[in-house]
């Protein structure tokens, strides 16, 4: 057995989950609260601080005033609150559901190339040939947590929330899956690392001028890529149950939808699952449409440690832009009605995505036959 491989894989998994993803989820919650506060003319969390931390020169005042430690306080509170299990819930499923929401969100990260190379290690946990299919498979498993939460709560609002969410997620999965097919038609591969490498050379699909060498093809396919990206973006909002598509937990109608009956750490798991899903969706968008770790000057896979770290930084930076977008849109648009949501999914996006596949295939055929 190749022990080197095993050790480095374990190391990568541990680092990505515990050093990157978990803190990122925690601080995404803080970012959400801060940005929401600024948009609503408030200041947001700015109280929590550790003793003596203000004594550090220069950065000390910032560390005490910007709510930097708020995620830790939130996490501690979630653990210490009373874990209440209502009567008449179906206990096994009630306990299973939060875990089932959280896990798929983390599993999705496995195939995302979050950097090029670091030393001689590829910066992707699992470089699968069927990369994107794996992602969609795992994402589709995420429905179970919500269905079971709705079913196990044995109460009306969670049930309605669960049913709504299931229908919504399955519907938009189809639009989402179809929207990315043009990308794979152009790239000719399902492997996400290969897709990123191709984009690094011939232009990002959504921004073809960000390229090492300009080609006519990428400009001709720009409209198709933009439609692809647009459908993917909107579907990602629907898949992660974010506003304007947060119908499963629309608080004005369903109290809190499927997580009405949950409290303390179980609720926190649902909450973290949502943010982990947002991170995964942002990663997917960056990887598929915005060139992953690449920048025009940094298009070749890194061969020094510094360049490797730079690539990871570029990837994380691009991802954070999308996270801010996710958070910002929450305050921009009101919630859709349920029939509008279904109408948008089935009668606008699915036909549009199908037409997009057809047009892309035609353009590719014409270009390649020359």
């Amino acid at each position: 057995m190749d022990w080197n491989f095993v050790i480095f894989s374990t190391l990568k998994i541990l680092c990505v989950i515990f050093l990157a993803l978990m803190p990122m989820v925690a601080y995404a919650v803080l970012a959400e609260r801060k940005i929401s506060a600024f948009i609503q003319d408030r200041v947001g969390p700015n109280r929590v601080s550790l003793p003596l931390i203000g004594g550090i020169p220069i950065i000390g005042p910032f560390l005490t005033r910007w709510g930097v430690w708020q995620p830790m306080a939130d996490g501690l509170k979630a653990f210490l609150k009373e874990d209440f299990t209502p009567n008449y819930v179906r206990k096994a499923y009630f306990w299973l559901a939060p875990a089932l929401t959280m896990t798929p969100a983390f599993l999705t990260i496995a195939v995302i190339p979050f950097g090029s190379n670091l030393g001689n290690q590829k910066m992707v946990i699992a470089d699968l040939n069927v990369g994107i299919l794996y992602t969609f498979g795992i994402v589709s498993l995420g429905v179970y947590g919500i269905v079971l939460a709705g079913y196990a709560s044995n109460s009306k609002y969670p049930f309605l929330g669960g049913i709504r969410s299931t229908a919504q997620m399955i519907s938009y999965e189809i639009a989402m899956g179809m929207s990315v097919i043009p990308v794979f038609l152009v790239a000719g591969d399902l492997n996400l690392s290969k897709i990123v490498e191709r984009q690094a050379l011939e232009g990002w699909f959504a921004l073809p001028f960000m390229a090492q060498q300009q080609t006519l093809m990428s400009y001709l396919l720009w409209p198709c890529a933009m439609i692809s990206f647009f459908i993917f973006l909107v579907s990602a909002f629907a898949e992660t149950n974010r506003l304007p598509f947060d119908l499963p937990e629309s608080e004005t109608e369903l109290v809190a939808g499927y997580n009405t009956e949950y409290s303390s750490i179980k609720f926190a798991l649902f909450f973290m699952g949502e943010y982990a899903n947002m991170i995964a969706a942002s990663c997917m968008m960056v990887t598929l449409f915005f060139g992953g770790w690449s920048l025009p000057g940094l298009a070749t896979p890194a061969n020094t440690i510094l360049a490797g770290l730079l690539h990871i930084g570029v990837f994380v930076g691009k991802m954070l832009v999308f996270m801010v977008l996710f958070i910002w849109v929450r305050w921009m648009l009101p919630r859709f009605r349920y029939d509008q949501l279904m109408d948008l999914g089935w009668r606008r996006f699915v036909p549009l995505a199908l037409a997009n596949i057809l047009v892309t295939a035609t353009v590719l055929l014409l270009l390649n036959s020359k």
């Binding site: 506060a37 600024f38 948009i39 003319d41 408030r42 200041v43 700015n46 910002w328 921009m332 648009l333």
Partner: protein
Amino acid sequence: MIVQRKPLTFWERLYLPAIAGGFKVTWKHFRRTLFGGDNAAKQTSKGYYPEVPWTVADGYRGAPYLLKDQDGNTKCVSCQLCEFVCPPKAIKITPPGDSGLKADRSNAEKMPLEFEINMLRCIFCGFCQEVCPEEAIFLQKDYSLTGLTRSEMIYDKEKLLALGGTNAGIQKWKHKLEEAKVQETFPVKL
């Protein structure tokens, strides 16, 4: 009346103008708060809340307390209207009953033996103030009610009276008399 839902125009169905409008509004507020430092806390007082007390605006509905009249007597006559009207059932009044507790003022028959408001249940709606015929209970400006136990948050008569203080200026029957006089002249407001 049935309002017909207007069909959306092409631009509205694209949702794009709405998105642009939403971005404009949110960006304006975001910029003003983050870079201008101009937020609600700054506008109403010199700093942020726990250090700098918040300036309470007129008409703010804080915690309901019991009032005494100008002679220091309990105004409440234990009519229990507030207990009846209270939506979350936060008020509990024990009438004097057989204990024979007389009011400590001459123009009333009785006063409550016990008057409790559960501040954990109170929703500060102001119904009790509105319904009180004696003007004995008023929503005041206290907004920061804290306690370490649940029982601590149930305020009894002594505490409510002590917190409420005296308010001689409000004399309901005088107002009623003025209102009646005004109404006799039939002022026609156009």
